[in-house]
Symmetry: C2
Subunit: 317 residues, 2 copies
């Protein structure tokens, strides 16, 4: 049983953690967004990869959802003393990850190999694959002009209204052999409850990836998503406002419409039960359950229900 | 009054600190050994520069003599968790220095400019100049073969007997404009009580530097050294054993012989008063005083006495 999940940061990491607890060692592959990555003080920082990494390793700060539990900020304080920009604060333990990654990348190793090496170092039973090797960077246009994603997301606290999204470099991106192999052997594909526009959006924009998802469906592999919008609101982050400002409906139905041609089914929260028929009218199956993951038991239960839903769709399809 | 001191790590930093307290802002230039530098996790680490930097900024760990006071090792613990080599442990605050330096170097800035930028960031009233721009690396030959300096010094705790010393890259090194300007305007030059073989040795081996010291003396600029050997022993580090294993006398007299053609005078500890006549027989003047720097007052007093000694030699010469 090999399951592939597409994930961004915190919400995606939680469901991936539930899937890892539900599946056996080696049965989960996470394809992670890299368009949020940035270079900081000469280091390659991969926020989504590392959130998933730390979460799957049991090292994540559960309060804030990202970063290492109990991390300190001594280096950040010293950087500030030197007058360096510190709007994106890196924890001391977290720095070790960026240091090793950057050194290995500069040594000429592929990004995918570097990430797998870090995962091995922490003894991960799952694999996290960057969506591509090539640098892709999300940019958002606000009324003030174009912003780099982390400038918008971290420095400006997602305050600007987003009028347009671009993934710089996406034309040159290619599906990696590892991602292709994962999708080629998947028994199910799960879109984690991540921002559909800026977390899963870049993954789905990698040239060739949508076609591979289509081929998987043609082979009878079920593809399901868990809605990141509950009761019209993103559980975390700006997905709801971003959907609205870009002309989509800020609801699970809006999410269903975005993914409609890719999915067999959508997992909806009980709060959105009334949207079920409209989702089904798009040609998708709907599973209504509790989707808010407050603790490890919630994560594992939602993962199990999602996998069972996918298996039912495969059997029925 | 512009004073130039040649310095390695801890002992040199202490005297430099004393000189800085004695002189006015902008009156002290430290020319620092860079042959102990190393690349670690992709970062350029400059142990001697940073020991002087932190000491002059009042940030040094006074117990161990190097590193930042109160620094933590969270990143080092995480590096260890990843299985990275950790025999050279970098503190979290210290990492900030290496990060900024490495990023600016990769951005194409000259090493001297990068170092001056870090010093400005900490508000230093003195300047610390790398001995040259080119990478020079000290290597020592033990009975086991050649070792990189920090491998010998940190990883092997200076246990191997040193049979030979080499400064790889020294032929390509050049005196920088900044070092030349400092020596050209110096009213006195002080050799700090650093290891004469592996701390001041590389500085003195930069092609052209000895000639510039000679030109300064020809102009009447006094050049004096403070002996790093007291009672036949190095106050810190392996200088005494290194002198002996390389065929020198492990004493202030041995130091005087090494420097004889460069110096006007040598500052000796009271414990070595009996060596005074032998030092003078080499053509050097000798000043006998307390040279062990236990606190800031000791540093300032030794600095003042050394500068007075130099001034007397200039007046008398």
């Amino acid at each position: 049983m090999h399951v592939v999940t597409l994930a961004g940061g915190v919400g995606g990491a939680k469901l991936a953690h539930g899937l890892q607890r539900t599946l056996g060692a080696g049965e989960l592959t996470v394809i992670v967004n890299t368009a949020d990555d940035l270079e900081l003080h000469g280091l390659l920082v991969m926020p989504d990869h590392d959130t998933v990494l730390y979460t799957l390793a049991g090292l994540a700060d559960r309060e804030q959802g990202w970063g290492l539990s109990g991390d300190t900020y001594v280096a950040a304080a010293m950087l500030e003393r030197y007058g360096a920009p510190t709007w994106f604060r890196l924890g001391d333990g977290d720095l070790a990850t960026h240091l090793l990654r950057t050194a290995r990348r500069r040594g000429g190793e592929r990004l995918t190999a570097v990430c797998l090496g870090l995962q091995d170092g922490l003894g991960l039973p799952s694999r996290i694959l960057p969506m591509c090797e090539e640098p892709v960077r999300t940019q958002v246009r606000s009324d003030e002009g174009w912003l780099e994603f982390q400038d918008y997301f971290v420095r400006q606290h997602q305050a600007p209204e987003v009028r347009e999204i671009a993934f710089a470099g996406i034309e040159a991106a290619q599906v990696t052999l590892e991602v292709a192999a994962a999708l080629g052997t998947a028994a199910a594909v799960v879109f984690a409850p991540s921002n559909p526009l800026v977390s899963l959006g870049p993954i789905l924009a990698v040239p060739g990836l949508r076609a591979m998802l289509g081929e998987a469906r043609d082979r009878g592999v079920p593809i399901v998503a868990v809605s990141p919008i509950v009761g019209g609101r993103a559980l975390r982050g700006p997905a709801d406002r971003m959907l609205a400002s870009l002309g989509h409906e800020a609801s699970a139905l809006g999410v269903a419409r975005l993914y409609a041609d890719l999915l067999d089914g959508l997992v909806l929260d009980r709060e959105d039960e009334a949207l079920g028929p409209a989702v089904e009218a798009l040609g998708l199956h709907a599973l209504v359950t509790d989707t808010i993951m407050r603790d490890d038991a919630d994560r594992a239960r939602l993962a199990r229900e999602t996998l069972d839903f996918a298996a039912d769709l495969a059997a029925g399809g």
